[in-house]
């Protein structure tokens, strides 16, 4: 990857995360689900790194592990030179100012019993000495930045529209001037017209504050609009990583190609020859051996059943894990 040490804000190394899950029947067996399998990536300062994939790919888990909302079973997350997974809880707390998360459903991520003022003030109350008028003043500043105003201060989440609620969540995330934001499907629950407003706002805020974003989504259209680089995930692994334009102009991994081809595009004249993947997504509790994608891959070869593909570079800052790329 063509990123220098100094320009990397978050370095993820060999991140592995497992969940335990019961079979579902009484006394059923406990299954270990490997949500993340040895994931490594870098997030460059000031960039937007998009992470796409479908259910079970691990993108949501990745976002949470990066903020240590979940504790992975193995690996490192190095934020600005410090491994946040190795820190004690008390050392971790002040670091939380630097990185925040915005969730998919704003009505879920805002306490329904707190008004906007208290919601946005919470981070300030937790980490600063600001109180009363000063606190309210800072909250107002934040609201204005996200396109709301003081008239919203006393409102409760159920009195806001989806777009407004998400703006409140953003204001809260920005309260402590973080450097890194994990955005977990921030526009998926919103209407198209509102989505555009929020995306524009995110871009504006990034320009103004020099923020670094990890943008998680299943919507390729939105991701490619906002991201500089994109990581495509499947069943707990990154299968392809490239600059945004390259993912779209020359996807190398068969899954990326299928994903692109499956995404509905509002263009009636587009060539509709779709790559339809066979079968269903395998259960993360039981990933296929060899290349995890081989059960659905239209180009599957013998080796794919038994050997996991290595990382193959395909171009400047572009790599994919597929045996087809093995030129040897």
């Amino acid at each position: 990857m063509s990123t220098t040490r100094e320009s990397v804000l978050v370095e993820v190394k060999n991140l592995t995360m497992e969940f335990a899950r019961r079979d579902g029947q009484l006394g059923g067996q406990e299954q270990r689900i490997r949500a993340l399998d040895n994931v490594s990536l870098d997030v460059v300062r000031g960039e937007t790194l998009g992470v796409v994939g479908e259910s079970g790919c691990g993108k949501t888990t990745l976002g949470r592990c990066l903020l240590r909302l979940l504790t992975p079973v193995a690996g490192e997350v190095i934020f600005d030179g410090r491994d946040i997974l190795a820190l004690s809880l008390s050392s971790l707390r002040p670091l939380r100012r630097e990185m925040q998360m915005v969730f998919q459903n704003p009505f879920s991520s805002l306490n329904p019993r707190m008004n906007v003022l208290n919601l946005v003030a919470e981070p300030l109350r937790t980490h600063t000495e600001l109180r009363r008028e000063e606190l309210a003043g800072r909250v107002e500043e934040l609201l204005v930045e996200v396109g709301l105003s003081s008239e919203h201060l006393k409102r409760f989440p159920h009195q806001l529209s989806g777009g407004q609620a998400q703006r409140v969540a953003l204001a809260r995330a920005l309260a402590l001037n973080p450097r890194f934001l994990v955005l977990d499907e921030p526009t998926s629950a919103l209407d198209v017209s509102v989505q555009a407003q929020i995306i524009n706002l995110l871009l504006e805020l990034q320009r103004r504050h020099g923020l670094t974003y990890l943008f998680i989504s299943h919507d390729l259209g939105v991701v490619q609009h906002i991201s500089d680089r994109i990581a495509v995930m499947y069943l707990g692994q990154i299968v392809e990583m490239a600059a945004s334009e390259d993912i779209f102009s020359s996807p190398q991994h068969p899954y990326t190609q299928a994903l692109l081809s499956s995404t509905p595009v509002p263009d009636p004249d587009r060539d509709r020859k779709r790559i339809i993947l066979a079968g269903v997504v395998p259960s993360p509790a039981n990933p296929p051996p060899g290349c995890r994608f081989h059960t659905r891959c239209p180009h599957v070869m013998d080796i794919c059943h038994t050997e996991e593909p290595k990382v193959y570079p395909v171009g400047e800052g572009h790599w994919a894990t597929c045996h087809l790329l093995d030129t040897a």
Partner: protein, 302 residues
């Protein structure tokens, strides 16, 4: 978005003249039975507070005997008659309102203050904290509540405060269970995750995020419980373990009066019994009303 979601969304957006239309208070006002109960209870409270001024026989209400007037049947001067010590029963009942209402309220308040935080802590932390708290709760729940209350009251000594404590001690586990269940589901919500992300400390999360969101079910349960607490309190006084004579108390009055019912002096026990019945009923209806108003499904929306 489904139609019902759309309809429910709009509920929250309209502000009515004084009360937000579609809000809990608004729904409550439309439930006639609950409103009647609320008025009845409000009247009881007024009677309890102003009892000495509402009857000419205030001192008898407090317990002074008036032996000249023993066993007078209901009449204009004594609407509910007099008891075995000649005391005006109407006055006694008014003063009895004080003991009943206070025991009902105090029991529930104490039970909630003990039970709710325990439940929140158990549900939120899980693990061994949860195990320990729930096992203690289970021990208390293993006893039939009334018997346990009797046992505790007897052990502590018969008086009002001990009776109140005894009942509260048998009641708190229900609130622990209730709040724990709520906390378990709340724990998974995004806003709790967001609070973690912000770095809010655990106890602060319980105080600021969990407890306010369990308020509604607790309030509903508490309202329903006040009636039962009054009933239980009366029961304890009836067997002599609660309020002691000469303090006016409905349960005590029934106990005193039961000896004379067969002899034809029915009024001594009957009116107190009626009072207990109506009061418990009123709180039950009130509690139903509060629950129905708070439950989005019974609101008749989409």
């Amino acid at each position: 978005m489904t139609t019902s979601t759309i309809v429910q969304r709009w509920f929250g957006d309209r502000i009515g003249p004084r009360v937000e239309a579609g809000s809990t208070v608004w729904f409550f006002r439309r439930d006639r039975l609950a409103m009647v109960s609320l008025i009845f209870i409000a009247l009881l409270v007024l009677v309890a507070v102003f009892a000495p001024y509402l009857t000419p026989y205030a001192n008898e209400g407090l317990g002074d005997p008036n032996l000249a007037n023993k066993f007078l049947s209901p009449s204009v001067e004594h609407p509910f008659g007099t008891d075995s010590l000649g005391r005006d029963i109407a006055a006694r009942m008014m003063f009895g309102t004080r003991t009943s209402l206070s025991i009902g309220l105090l029991v529930v308040v104490v039970a909630v203050l003990i039970g709710a935080p325990l439940g929140a802590v158990a549900g939120y932390f899980g693990g061994w904290v949860d195990e320990v708290i729930m096992r203690v709760t289970d021990v208390f729940l293993a006893f039939p509540p009334l018997l346990l209350a009797i046992a505790i009251a007897a052990a502590l000594g018969p008086n009002f405060v001990n009776a109140m404590l005894a009942i509260a001690l048998t009641w708190w586990p229900w609130y622990t269970r209730l709040v724990r269940a709520q906390a378990l589901s709340l724990r998974e919500r995004s806003f709790i995750e967001a609070a973690h992300g912000i770095g809010v400390k655990n106890l602060t999360i319980i105080w600021r995020h969990i407890l306010p969101n369990v308020l509604t079910p607790v309030l509903v349960q508490a309202t329903l419980d006040i009636g039962s607490a009054i009933l239980t309190g009366a029961g304890l006084s009836f067997i002599g373990l609660g309020t002691q004579p000469p303090t006016a108390d409905w349960g005590v009055m029934i106990n005193e009066g039961r000896l004379y019912v067969l002899a034809g002096r029915w009024w001594i026990a009957t009116f107190s019994g009626l009072a207990i019945f109506l009061t418990t009923l009123a709180f039950n209806l009130l509690g139903d009303g509060v629950r129905d108003a708070a439950d989005p499904r019974t609101r008749g929306g989409g």
